[in-house]
Symmetry: C2
Subunit: 411 residues, 2 copies
């Protein structure tokens, strides 16, 4: 049994995490939130108060911390008595936060793979570059580290495991499809940190097919998907974290990730990329100033959390898993549908932040009860998916299954 949660980060996802932790504070204990700018944390806590989300009279407190300063993090973990850290800050700080958790022996949860600012799309599998190099140390210290426990990666890893365990004797392929059929009404915006968002699409697209890493370019391979609720949507083979762990754990299956994009997004992306404005490498201005173009694009685009009030429509994210059952071809689509307006109503965030922010809280709740307190480093598909999907169903993200043309809610 672990308790008291420290949330690192103060963006749109952190806001959802804070609301959901507060709604489950009877299990989770004190809730602390820390980021470089304390005022952003305080705004989030004000939103929690406003919505009346906090279900105990325990501590709910904001702190300032620079997450790359592991010493300061260690001090904050000890000072707040936090036994679970939910890291939803920029991916650039992940390993710093994990180190602080290893040092203090507390549980660590994140929602995206670690990235170094000056590197994009390193050698696959990505988890082997940073996270898995700390596997032994987590095991030695008995530290529970649940990697990539957002929606994708995260819930989709659990969907894959669940589909294989429940419906397959042998798995042939896992296709993860992520469609945002919502509309924010702006000329152009990304649904989470533009810097991280664009970095996903500027490098090589890695997929795992025929037992080997395959390389494509972004928008090279597109396919129309016929999906529940959101209908027919075009999605493109893209690089994504979960491909890198699922390919390791299910090496006999093809593992692909498909992200939905409209023509307008692709046009804007193509212009920015071809000009060099999505580059993570600094350029020198005529006046001598050194600037990373991608950071300027980020500064010009709307803050993703500002999109929430006007966001309408739904998301559909799921796994199409194919394999063999009783000697015959089997196929199942496990998925969730989320609604932008409902998310805003409940926690003041849009649907993309909601789907990313609820799962790490479900993971924290399972660590708190002991069910997921593995005392070592795990990707989500290495954990029993059923309690996870059950908690998710209770705290806001239902799980549906489409089999033989029929849709059924399971959790």
């Amino acid at each position: 049994m672990k308790k008291n949660v420290l949330i690192i980060g103060a963006g749109g996802v952190a806001q959802v995490v804070a609301h959901k932790c507060a709604q489950n504070a009877d299990l989770l204990g004190d809730i602390h939130i820390a980021s470089r700018t304390q005022a952003k944390c305080e705004q989030i806590l004000a939103s929690v108060s406003e919505k009346g989300s906090h279900n105990t009279d325990g501590i709910l407190a904001a702190h300032a911390v620079d997450a790359i300063d592991s010493k300061a993090l260690v001090a904050l973990i000890e000072q707040t008595g936090s036994q679970i850290v939910i890291n939803v800050a920029s991916s650039f700080v992940n390993m710093h936060v994990l180190e602080a958790c290893i040092e203090t022996g507390v549980a660590y949860i994140d929602t995206a793979i670690h990235e170094e600012p000056d590197k994009i799309c390193e050698a696959p599998p990505w988890y082997a570059n940073y996270e898995w190099q700390r596997k032994d140390r987590c095991a030695e210290k008995g530290v529970t580290a649940i990697l990539g426990a957002g929606f994708d990666p995260g819930v989709v890893n659990a969907y894959a495991r669940f589909a294989i365990d429940e419906y397959m004797d042998e798995v042939k392929s896992i296709d993860i499809v992520d469609i945002n059929a919502g509309s924010h009404g702006r000329y152009f915006a990304t649904n989470f940190d533009p810097e991280i968002n664009f970095r996903e699409f500027t490098g090589t697209v890695y997929s795992w097919q025929d037992g080997a890493w395959q390389e494509n370019e972004m928008f090279e391979v597109g396919r129309d998907w016929e999906l529940p609720v959101v209908g027919t949507q075009r999605a493109y083979l893209s690089g994504h974290d979960e491909v890198h762990s699922l390919a390791t754990h299910y090496p006999d299956a093809d593992v692909r990730f498909w992200m939905g994009f409209g023509e307008h997004y692709i046009n804007v992306f193509t212009v920015l990329k071809n000009i060099g404005l999505l580059s993570e490498q600094p350029v020198t201005l005529a006046e001598g100033q050194e600037v990373v173009p991608l950071k300027v694009v980020k500064a010009c685009l709307p803050d993703p959390s500002s999109l929430a009030p006007d966001y309408t429509g739904k998301t559909c994210i799921g796994d199409l898993v194919k394999g063999i059952r009783n000697g015959e071809a089997a196929e199942v689509f496990v998925y969730n549908v989320a609604d932008h307006e409902e998310a805003y109503e409940e926690v003041g965030s849009q649907g993309i932040s909601y789907t990313a922010g609820v799962p790490p809280v479900a993971a924290a709740m399972l660590i708190a009860t002991g069910e997921w307190d593995a005392r070592e480093m795990r990707n989500v598909e290495e954990m029993d998916p059923k309690p996870f999907l059950e908690v998710l169903g209770k705290i806001g993200l239902g799980t549906w299954v489409r089999r033989d043309g029929t849709d059924e809610r399971l959790y």
Copy 2:
């Protein structure tokens, strides 16, 4: 009779100016070139040597100067004994250079209107904001200042005056059409300094119609033009310097400027503008750095002078002037056609730099001979156009006229 020329600037236009001055050094005397980076000036002089452009054994020298430092400019003018300054540096320095010329009493020529870095498309007429405020001081000191003596503004102002003087009793409209039908083979590039180029199109489009300033947005008004050599081309009502002086000197005529754009240019421009990347106002990055987005776009785009070796095709720039002659409607199109490859062959620059760089040298030659040594500030349409067109025809830019469906070379 004035002589010895100081060229300020070291971009693609400055390279053309240096070549053309060197080719006419028997009239112009010593040729000096100065910019912030002396190495750029030296590269230009190396190109002049390589092409064997210098037709005397006079001085040909490079200097370092920061053109906003009027004191240093004054010293350089005096040290070099220059009596004519051709300013083809960034428009941001124009008034600093003019001040140095007023102080030293030497002639001043530029090719574009002065701009302040943080202001775009100020109140019309633009010349009244900076240049014309120094009219009296030029007259008092007997300083010849020829404003906007590039191609457009510049030669097109002379074309307007010439068309009206030669072919009209009364002028009704002046439509300046600028078509670059060439191809540089890059994904996207501007033909001169991207910062100045984009600034032309991000503000209000001013035109002079029905005796008043009219305001439109960029790409709001488009029209197909049937032109010599380059054929049918779509051009858009745009803001441009020469509209602001021609409207003042021919207030009874409608004065409009039309710039040719392809769909690809418009798409890229629209994406960059809508995202805010063409803004001249600084944004603050997440890390606290203050950056002007437009300067980052400039740093990402190809240096315009780098386009020259691969540039193919032709430009067509001219004035469609309509009016009354002998009580009947009269119409004439006065124009030039330039060839990118021929320009590169002769002076190592592309056609846009060539058309912009040859005219200020023609103006300098007329100041040197005394024909244009007005001893006060003038826009080009206030000068006798015939000697100008004659010199231009001799040094590389011919003048053609299309009347009643017939094209004829006049100069």
